[in-house]
Subunit: 318 residues, 2 copies
Amino acid sequence: MTGAGPPAEFSLIARHFRPLAGPGSLDLLDDGALLVPPRGRELVFTADAMVAGVHFLPDDPADTVGAKLLRVNLSDLAAMGATPLAYLMTVSAPRDTGDAWFAAFASGLARDQARFGITLLGGDTTATPGPMTLSLTAIGHIAPGAALRRAGAMAGDDIWVTGTVGDGALGLLALQGKVLDAGGYLAGRYRLPQPRLGLALHGVVSACMDVSDGLVQDVGHLCRAAGLGAVVEAALVPRSPAALAAGPAWLATCLTGGDDYELVMAVPPGRAGLLMAAASAGNCAVTRIGRFEAGSQVRVLDASGATVHLDRPGWSHF
Amino acid sequence: MTGAGPPAEFSLIARHFRPLAGPGSLDLLDDGALLVPPRGRELVFTADAMVAGVHFLPDDPADTVGAKLLRVNLSDLAAMGATPLAYLMTVSAPRDTGDAWFAAFASGLARDQARFGITLLGGDTTATPGPMTLSLTAIGHIAPGAALRRAGAMAGDDIWVTGTVGDGALGLLALQGKVLDAGGYLAGRYRLPQPRLGLALHGVVSACMDVSDGLVQDVGHLCRAAGLGAVVEAALVPRSPAALAAGPAWLATCLTGGDDYELVMAVPPGRAGLLMAAASAGNCAVTRIGRFEAGSQVRVLDASGATVHLDRPGWSHF
């Protein structure tokens, strides 16, 4: 005979994750979740994993870890022009993870669920002998045919980015004590990226992606998708006051460091006004940083037109 | 200036995972995937993670690791009565993972994609300083209102299971040298569970779930969902010839060990014929192993009616 109380794994899920569960989740009590797709919409899917010590610091506050996990995926939805709908999440946690960690992790998710209009649909919680490893699949929806794509840039299109570039990479260095960050702004940008959801970019941009692995490398992705080259004018790349205060030696880090979660876009010059109107309506800065051209290389030039040397264009896990 | 060749992470994805990519995946080249939901169907979602050393053995053949990752999720779709459609996957791999491992892993996925009618929609590949950690989100579809649920068992319903129980748990012990497994049957069942897809169970079962964490514990889930107790008759629980050959000392392991990925169902006695017809059409054995009753306990009885002692009802990660 065995008692009918749930084992610890299931009470942990009930305590921390069930309050996050939304429509279709069946309260996380079934083998799967049910979703009635919004009528007349396409669905957009993206999945990103985060590993402690790779994508976040083991001692980052757990609420920001939860929020970052959600936001890096929301940034992918933003890059497609989609509206958030629901997400599934798997958590592989060291056995000694305390209840307080799970509570804080869930509180960060709860706050961002309300902020971004998304709810938990399902998932799995397992133990791991390794570092905390998180995986999230985000589901969004979009009008048929309206998805923004990486392919589509034309020679002569300008390159634009949202927000500022380099804060995330510098924030990680700041948390490691390698960069001054008196106000904690850079660390905050590393821990809590800002997904650029809600910008009306369909019909405005000819290509779009989010900058997650380094600006220059990600511009290279847009180039490869279009069979083009590009010029990035380093002096035009928008950097925050905190990033500029870190000093000129960090320019290359800002251009290649990753963890920006800004959007980089190809925009025909004639649509610059439309872009600025869309950005203004979304309360988001946009800056022109270069242009696409014939070729197959990403050239990074300084204000004098000289090539800026970069050891690598961006981040690669392998 | 930086070359336009993709970094190693992206060529790895192109080499091994792009061949798995199906409709809507956009060849894994965009920030997200697009899915036009099948008209008039509900979507079913499930997500499961697998960690080397926890859910599979680090030296398990990589093709079976890929297949198992897919199959444990397909088993959840089967438990809901859903038809497979697509999946997203995140792979967090040690940096020294060889190309041959990825190739074999992908080959196991490719074989099962063809077998079960599902394709890759998207995902993410990252490095980890820890063990190989895999996460998969499976998407299925189903007629509106036809999903099988865990809640719904009635007192007097019989408990039925598909296939045989205990092989997976014994297979793990066999691979650890603790159980004899001359023909390798048990190890095969641990490495390659058989998702019970395609059984026409809607209108036949009053509750259903898959057995992944131990039969007795999972019957307990059906009991809690219905506010009932249950009797499991240990002598009726179907065991394979290989499991029986392991010896009577392993009965408790079979009842509580997990990794079965069989379905356990509540079936009104009057629908036993319908169940057997559905199982026969799906080329799947089903066996009656007990019944639901008033109460809140799962009682496990031997052939003489005496209680079978179990140290624990099943597996819990925490």
